[in-house]
Amino acid sequence: MPETLTKNKQDVPLTGEGGNGFDGNWGGGEGGGDGQSRPERYPPPEGYRIAVRLALISITMLFLALTSAYIFNRAKNHPIIMPRALWVSTALILTSSITMEFARRNLRRSETRFRGWIIATMLLGVGFLIAQLVAWRQLVAEGFYINRNFHSGYAYLFTGLHGVHLMGGLIALGYVTLRASEKWTLVRRRVSVDVTALYWHFLDGLWVYLLALLFFWK
């Protein structure tokens, strides 16, 4: 079965600590999909799941730290305009979450559909970044440089850091799509897409939060 991990012949009593199928047995752990036991050259699937959640915790701490700085500096009391491009970029990123979900759910059903939705997500992501850059230009055009006041300063920093993380997400998406399925087992593929989707949704949620913090909290 492509999705089950082959168990080691020298079975040892399971203790339940291994989580989804990885229970301390080595060898064949990952490569089970094609019937061959492969040495464990890749991290186990649920390792990725935990790792991504840990990364999300760290990223949250980063943005929480900056949020408390934002509050400490009383940035919201300073004026700013909301560039219109942000409506576009928000729409793009929200849509990209939807396409991301479609991609994730189509992974098992149809490779072409999966690729289609992933590419759509990537395009929307790139579109988001472009819209963000346009928004920056709109801010500059209105005289809101990064050092105009705290509100604009944090706006650039927050959106900049968010954008950098999103670029990382784009790279992950590209990697997940481009690594053809013959190199990866289906399980690994599914987990990779799952965690990339989680990361992507998180960035989407983070964006909504930043939008609210920067432009709707008066």
Binding site: P13, W26, G28, L62
Partner: protein, 585 residues
């Protein structure tokens, strides 16, 4: 279905053919652990050298040092050590020691090497990421040191880097490019630590061998695991602070700039910000950082004490909960660095109470170590000496925390050598003794050879007495009111009487530093000519002593260990031997 063994052999042959052996080696957690070990060793030597320069200026401020001037022409004029050089040494000594030694050695070096082995895993979950983490740390170190060699010299703001001094390039020498390199180095270090933390946490949660329940892990593993959790939460905050400061320095923002600043006769543009913001962010990271530095050492000490007292750790569960309590409370105390910073004095009260509360789990751990020793049959090997030394030094350094944690008393001691004495005893000595204990204890396993016990004991005695001789007098100087970060105190009459103490400290420091050469000698002699080590020279019970020496590529020769016991089964009543390994049914 092919068995494990066949699979592995096939893969070996494949790899030899495709030539990926170098990559395999560089992603091996044991190799990475050793790389971190030697990185922190280099950093420690540099840090000690810097501390000696600091001591020279303190003891003999008028003295000329032609030899040093030859090495550092910018830092000395006519042989006299310049204040900017002294302050750059102070800054770099702190930064190098705290980041490159105390964060790297206990966690990244020994943790990377032994966490997977002690939980029965073959490798970390993300070996490639682990490798990237090391090279990023190395890059960070190189960038940090390069700050000393560029025009303007190294930054002079102390490792705490408070703005506006660190935000305005004209506020002092070295505060230009030197400060930028420092910030860049720290930002990269934050990223590297994050990657390392992810590896440690996922591996601990997912790669434990069958039977290795969490509450059967050795306390070393708990130390590394909890430290990784702290890292995950604390380093992003430092990264945020560094980002804001770099922005203030180069993008003309004013997050830390209150406005109206006149530096060297020139008005600094911008305003509205607060210097206190940096302190809040920095110390929110900075305080958990010191627990990061000590927790792995606490774990090592527990292991070593149990091993050489031939007794289980007293109160294993409490030890785990105490470490967790220290980690959690550690995030709530940052304000005790800011009692007289301009922060609202009422908030100071809360921080003070919490600070004294965290003394409780620390004290409990100390009592439990005493309980571990009590009634034991002690073998005074070198690692045991250092572990006992750790306990003694932890007591000494810890009790003065009760003085500094009180707000009103902090008014007397803030920014004096009393603080310096306190944190050196805890970090600069106790944590380092933890590193020494770990080195002596695990050297046989890591390198397959024994270090000399006799030389090791000499190293211990000289160092143990030496560090007391160095750092107890610091408290005296602090009580006299000697402020920190003074290149000299020649201007002040109230400090005049302390000159003899400065000299005593400096001589003790020189002797103790020289004693570390003995350690180096022992280390390298051991590497080259040490007697071959058996698999379990100390008769320990934890999993690393079941492997080959040094362990093979996948640690356990193809078969996952099955863990049947708790980690400290020494002198079990009714057992034939005086220790039972974790794998014994």
């Amino acid at each position: 279905m092919k068995s494990d063994y066949e699979t592995n052999e096939n893969s070996e042959t494949n790899e030899k053919r495709t030539g990926f052996r170098l990559f395999r080696n560089l992603t091996d957690h044991k190799v990475i652990g050793k790389q971190y070990f030697f990185l922190s060793l280099t950093a420690a030597l540099l840090g000690v050298f810097m501390s000696l320069l600091i001591r020279l200026r303190q003891a003999w401020p008028h003295e000329r040092w032609p030899l040093l001037e030859a090495i550092f022409p910018q830092g000395f004029r006519d042989g006299l050590m310049q204040p900017e050089f002294y302050l750059a040494m102070v800054t770099m000594h702190g930064t190098v020691m705290i980041f490159m030694v105390l964060t790297v050695a206990p966690q990244s070096a020994f943790g990377n090497y032994f966490l997977p082995i002690q939980i029965g895993a073959r490798e970390m979950v993300f070996p490639a990421l682990n490798m990237i983490s090391f090279w990023m740390t190395l890059l960070s170190f190189v960038l940090l040191l390069s700050a000393l060699f560029i025009e303007g010299g190294g930054p002079i703001g102390g490792w705490t880097f408070y703005p506006p001094l660190s935000a305005v390039a004209s506020a002092g020498p070295g505060q230009g490019m030197g400060a930028d390199l420092w910030l860049l180095s720290i930002a990269i270090f934050c990223l590297a630590s994050f990657l390392g933390a992810v590896n440690f946490i996922v591996t601990t949660l997912r790669r434990r061998a069958p039977g290795m329940f969490l509450m059967r892990m050795p306390l070393t593993c708990w130390g590394w695991f909890i430290t990784a959790l702290i890292s995950l939460l604390a380093f992003p905050v430092l990264f945020a602070a560094a980002t804001l400061l770099l922005s203030d320095r180069h993008l003309q923002t004013a997050f830390f700039n209150p406005g109206g600043l006149s530096v060297s006769g020139t008005m600094v543009p911008g305003g509205g910000g607060s210097p206190l913001l940096w302190q809040h962010l920095f110390w929110f990271f900075g305080h958990p950082e010191v627990y990061l530095a000590i927790l792995p050492g606490m774990g090592v000490v527990s292991n070593v004490l149990a091993n050489f007292a031939r007794k289980p750790v007293f109160g294993y569960r409490i030890m785990v909960f105490a470490m967790l309590a220290i980690a959690v409370f550690g995030f709530l105390l940052w304000g005790h660095h800011m009692f007289i910073s301009g922060m609202d004095p009422r908030i100071a009260i809360a921080f003070s109470l919490l600070t004294l509360v965290i003394g409780v789990p620390s004290a409990v751990k100390t009592f439990n170590w005493l309980g571990t020793l009590w009634g034991g049959r002690i073998r005074l090997t070198t690692p045991m000496l250092f572990a006992i030394g750790f306990v003694s030094l932890f007591i000494s350094g810890g009790v003065t925390g009760l003085v500094l944690g009180q707000t009103a008393l902090d008014m007397v001691f803030h920014d004096t050598y009393f603080v310096t004495g306190h944190f050196h005893l805890i970090m600069g000595v106790a944590a380092v003794f933890g590193i020494f204990a770990a080195t002596y204890y695990w050297f046989p396993k890591m390198f397959g050879r024994m270090m000399s016990e006799r030389i090791g004991k000499l190293h211990f005695w000289l160092t143990f007495i030496g560090v007391y001789a160095i750092f107890i007098p610091f408290h005296i100087m602090g009580m006299a009111g000697h402020p920190r970060r003074y290149p000299d105190s020649l201007q002040y009459e109230f400090l005049r009487g302390l000159d003899p103490l400065q000299i005593v400290i400096t001589i003790a420091a020189i002797v103790t530093a020289a004693a570390q050469l003995i350690f180096l000698f022992n280390l390298f002699m051991g590497l080259w000519r040490g007697e071959r080590a058996r698999d379990n020279p100390w008769e320990g019970t934890t999993l690393e002593w079941t492997t080959a020496t040094p362990p093979g590529r996948d640690n356990f020769a193809g078969k996952s260990p099955i863990v049947c016991r708790e980690p400290y089964q020494y002198s079990v009543p009714g057992a034939a031997k005086d220790f039972l390994m974790q794998t014994e049914p």
